[in-house]
Assembly symmetry: D5
Homo-oligomer: 129 residues x 10
C-alpha cells in the first residue's frame, strides 16, 4: 500500500455540532526546507480546534503535513499558511496552530497563530479547583 503527500485536506461531518468541544492533534514529524540554505527544518505541530460542521480527517492531515517535505518555508509564513489551509477546509469555530521548531543556530523558535469564526465566542471557561 503506497500513499503520497497531498495538499488536499479531507474532512468528515462533526458528530456533535450541538456542542463546543475541543480536538487536539499533535504531530511530531513535520519537516520542510529552509529557503535560505536549502537545509531541512523540523517541527512538532500542535493543532487544537473547536469544530463547527466538519472535522479534519487524521490521515489526510498527515499527508498534508508531508506535502511540505520538499518545499522551502519560513517559520512565520508556513505556520500562518497551514492555519489558513486548515481553516479553509474545516471552517472551525476556533483553531490554533502551534509550530514548535527544532533548534537552529542555537535558537529555539515557536510560532502560534489562531483563527476565530466571526460571531463565535468561547463558552465561559469553568476552572475547577
Amino acid at each position: 500500500m503506497t500513499t503520497k503527500p497531498s495538499k488536499t485536506l479531507e474532512t468528515f461531518p462533526n458528530p456533535q455540532p450541538g456542542r463546543d468541544y475541543t480536538i487536539r492533534i499533535k504531530t511530531p514529524e513535520f519537516t520542510c526546507l529552509c529557503p535560505k540554505t536549502g537545509q531541512p527544518d523540523f517541527a512538532v505541530m500542535h493543532l487544537e480546534y473547536v469544530p463547527d460542521q466538519a472535522c479534519v480527517e487524521l490521515k489526510s492531515l498527515k499527508l498534508y503535513y508531508w506535502s511540505f517535505r520538499d518545499e522551502g518555508a519560513f517559520h512565520e509564513r508556513v505556520t500562518n499558511e497551514i492555519l489558513d489551509d486548515l481553516v479553509r477546509a474545516t471552517q472551525p469555530r476556533f483553531m490554533r496552530l502551534t509550530a514548535e521548531f527544532l533548534v537552529r543556530g542555537g535558537v529555539y523558535t515557536t510560532v502560534i497563530a489562531e483563527h476565530r469564526k466571526d460571531g463565535w465566542t468561547a463558552p465561559v471557561a469553568v476552572q475547577l479547583p
Copy 2:
C-alpha cells in the same frame, strides 16, 4: 468472583449537595476498536465533575468503560457519547471528559467535551498565590 462489562451506570447520593465541589477520576485503561480497520484503540479517560444529587459509582464506571472493548468507535463521537451517558446518569452541575488517545499513525489525538447544567454557574474561582 466474575464481573461483566455493562452499559448501566450506577450512582449514589451526593453526600454534600449543599456545596459545589469537584470529583476527578482518571482511568488509564480504556480500549475500543477502530471502525475503519477493526484494530484496537487505547485511551486514558479523565473525568471531572461537580455533582448535583448523584455521584457516579466507581466500579460501575469501570464496567461501563469496559463495555466499549468490543465496539467500534471514532474518537470524536465516542467521547461525546460517553459524556452524554454520564450526564444522563448523574445529572451533574458540570462535567468534563478528556479522552487522551494513544498515538495512531504518528499522531496524538485528545478530545475534550463538557456539559453544564442549565442555570448553574461556577463559583467565582479563588486563585491563591
Copy 3:
C-alpha cells in the same frame, strides 16, 4: 514520648490578621478504611487556606488526620467532613482541601472541596509575567 490520634484541632492566633495571605500544608500520610470492603485506603492531603483570626496547629492537624486510621470513610464524604471540621476549628476567610487518593481498582480519584467565609472576597490576583 507517646502521642495519640485525636479529633481535636488546636489553633494559634494568626500573627498577621491584617493581611490576606496563604498557608499550604501537604500531608502525604492519610489513611482510612473502605466502608465496603474494610480494606485500607490511602491519600495525600493538600490543605490551603487564608487564615482569619486562627491558624491550625501542625501537630494537632497530624493527630487529627491520624484519627481516621481505623474509621470507614467514603472518598467524597470524608473530604467534605474534614473540610467542615477544619472550617469549624479555624473559621478561615477561605479554605480548600484536595484529597488525592491512591489508585483503587485501576482508577485514580481526587476530591476537592472549598469553603469561603460570608462576605469575604479574594484580593484581586496579581499575575506577574
Copy 4:
C-alpha cells in the same frame, strides 16, 4: 483495510547476521483478561533481542499481541509463553521480554524472562565513560 488478530509471527531475514546487534521494540498496548475475575488486564511490552538469522516483523508482532485480547492469562505464565513463541519463531541469539502490567489492587507487577541460544555468549560489553 481490515486486519485481524493472529497467533502467527512472521519474520524476515536478518540484514546483518555477521554482527551481534540489538533490536528493542516497545508496545504500550497489550491487553488480556484476568483468568480469576474475567476483567481486562493491561501491560506495556518491552521486547529486546539479538537476532540470528531472522527478525520479527513488526506488524505481525502487533497482531500477535492483539491475539491475547480475549484470552485469560496470568501475569507470570503469559510472559513466559510469549517469550517462548517469539523464540520459536525467530531463534534469536538472545531475547528478553519485560511485561510491565498496570496496577491491580494497588500493586504494580512486572515480569521479565530471557532466552539465550545454546553456545552463544554476549560480546564483551564496552562501557564508555
Copy 5:
C-alpha cells in the same frame, strides 16, 4: 465482600520453573507504627525475586502487608522480618526487599535486604547496549 489482614502468605506453582526469571511487585501502601512514639510510619515496598517452585499470590501479599498496620516495627527489623517470611513461604532462588520509608524527622530511610538460595547462582547477566 469483606477481607481481613493476615499473616498467611499463599503461593501458587511457578508456571515456568525451568527458567530463571524475575518478578517485581511494588506496593506503595505499607504502614505500621513506630515502637517509640506509637505514631504511624509509611513505606513503599519493592519486592523482586527469582521464583523456584512457588510464586507469592498477590492478594495474599497485600493482606500480609496489611497485617502490620497495628504493629510496632523498627525500620531495619521489619524489613528483615518480612523478607524472612517471604523466603519461608516461597523458597525462592533469589529475593530482594527494598523498604523505602517516608520522611521522619527530616530524614529519609531505605532498608534493602536480600536472600540467595544455597547453591544458586545468578545467570550471567547480558547487558545489551
Copy 6:
C-alpha cells in the same frame, strides 16, 4: 574577606522606573530555629516584585536572610515579617514572598504573603497563546 549577617537591606535606584516589570529572586538557603524545640528549620525563599524607585541589592538580601540563622521563628510569622522588612526597604509597587519550608513531622508547609502599594494596579496581563 569575611562577611557577616545583617538586618540592613541595601537598595539601588531602579534603572527603569517608567515601566512596571518583574524581578524574581530565589534563595534556596534560608535557615532559622524552631521556637518550640530549638531545632533548625530550612526553607527556600521565592521573592518576586515590581520595583518602584528602589531595587533590593542581592548581596545585602543574602546577608539579611542569613541574619535569621540563630533566631527562633514560626513559619507564618517570619514570612510576614520578612515581607514587611523588604517592603519598608524598597517601597515596591507590588511584592510577593513565598516561603517553602522543608518537611517537618511528615508535613510540608508553604506560606505566601503579598503587599500592594496604595493606588497601584497591575498592568492588564497579556496571555499570549
Copy 7:
C-alpha cells in the same frame, strides 16, 4: 565564514500582518560581564512578541546578543535595554523579554519586562479546556 557581534538588529516584513500571532525565541547562550567584579554572567533569554509590520531576523538577533559578551551589565538594566532595542527595531504590537540568569552567590535571579504598543489590546484569550 567569519561572523561578528553587532548591535544592529535586522528585520524582515511580517508575512501575516493581518493577524495577531505569537513568535517565541529562546536563546540559552547569553553572556555579559558583572560590572562590579568583572566576572562573566550567563543567562537564558526568552523573547516572545506579537509582530506588527516587522519580525526580527534570527541570525541578527544572535549577533546582537553576542555583542554583550564583553560589556558590563547589571541584570535589571540590561534586560530593560535589550527590550528597548528590540522594540525600537521591530515596533511590535506586544513584546516580553524574560532574562533568566544563572545562579550568582547562591541566588537565582530572573527579570521580565514587557512593552505594549499604544492603542493595541490583546485579542480575547480563548482558553480551551
Copy 8:
C-alpha cells in the same frame, strides 16, 4: 549559502590519538522513507565512538544523514549501513550507533549496532562512587 546532502563523510586528524577517549554526537533530525509504504520515517541518531587517527567532521556528518531523506530504508538495515559507512570513514577503535525511531503503528523501535577494531580492548572502566 546553499548546502547539499552528501554521502561523503569528511574527517579531521584526532588531536589526541595517544588517549582512548569518547565522543558522543546526538542528531535528532534523521528522516528517511519506509520502503513498504513510501511514508517518511523519523529517528534520533546517537553516535558514540573512541577515535583512532580520525574524527568525523560534524557538518559532513549532518549532510551525510541528510542524504537519506529521499531513500527507502528498513530500520535494521539502515542502522547497520550507517555504522559501516562511519567505520569505513573513520576507522575508530570503537563505535556504537543507536537509532531511536519515532513510533510507527503504536510500536517504538530502537536499533543499536557496534563495531570494535581488531585487537583493541576498552580501558578498564573506572566506576567512581
Copy 9:
C-alpha cells in the same frame, strides 16, 4: 521539649547481623560555615552502609549533623571527618558518605568517601534484568 546539637553518635544493636544488608539515610538539611568567608554552606548528606553489630540511631545522627552548624568546614575535609566519626561509632562492614553541596560561585561540588572493614568483601551482586 528542647534538643541540642551533639557530637555523640548513638547506636543500637543490628537486629539482623547474620545478613549483609543496606541502610540508606538521606538528610537534606546539613549546614556549616565556609572557613574562608564565614558564610553558610549547605549540603544534602547521603549515608549508605552495611551494618555489622551496630546501627546508627536516626535522631542522634540528626543532632550530630546539627553540631556542624556553627563550625567552619572545608568540603573535602568535613566529608572525610564525618565518615570517620560514623565509622568509629558503628564499625560498619561498609559505609559510603556522599556530601552534595549547594552551588557556590556558580560551581556544584560533591564529595564521596567510603570505608570498608578489613576482611569484609561485598556479597556477589545479583543484577536482575
Copy 10:
C-alpha cells in the same frame, strides 16, 4: 573586588590522602570561540577525580575556565587540553573530564577524556543493592 581570568591552577593539600575518594565539580558556565566561524561556543564542564596529594582550588578552577572565553577551541582538542592542564596541576590518582557542549547546527556533542596515574588501580567497586 575585581578578578581576572588566569591559566594558573592553584591547589591545596589533600586533607585525606590515605583514602581514595571522589570529588565532583560541575561548572555550567564554560564558553570559548569556534575557530572556524569565530562564534561563541558554550559547554557544561563536569570534572570528577580521585585526588592524590593535591586538590584543585575552586576559585582558581573557575578563573582557569574563564581564560578560554576569548580563545578559539575545537571541542575534541580543548577537552583533552583542559584535562592535561588539570592533571599537570594536581597529579591525581584518577581524573575524568566531561565537556557537554550546547547544540551547534542541530547536533549535540559531548567529549569525555580520562587520566589514570601509573600504577594506580581503582578500589574494588562496592555496588550496594
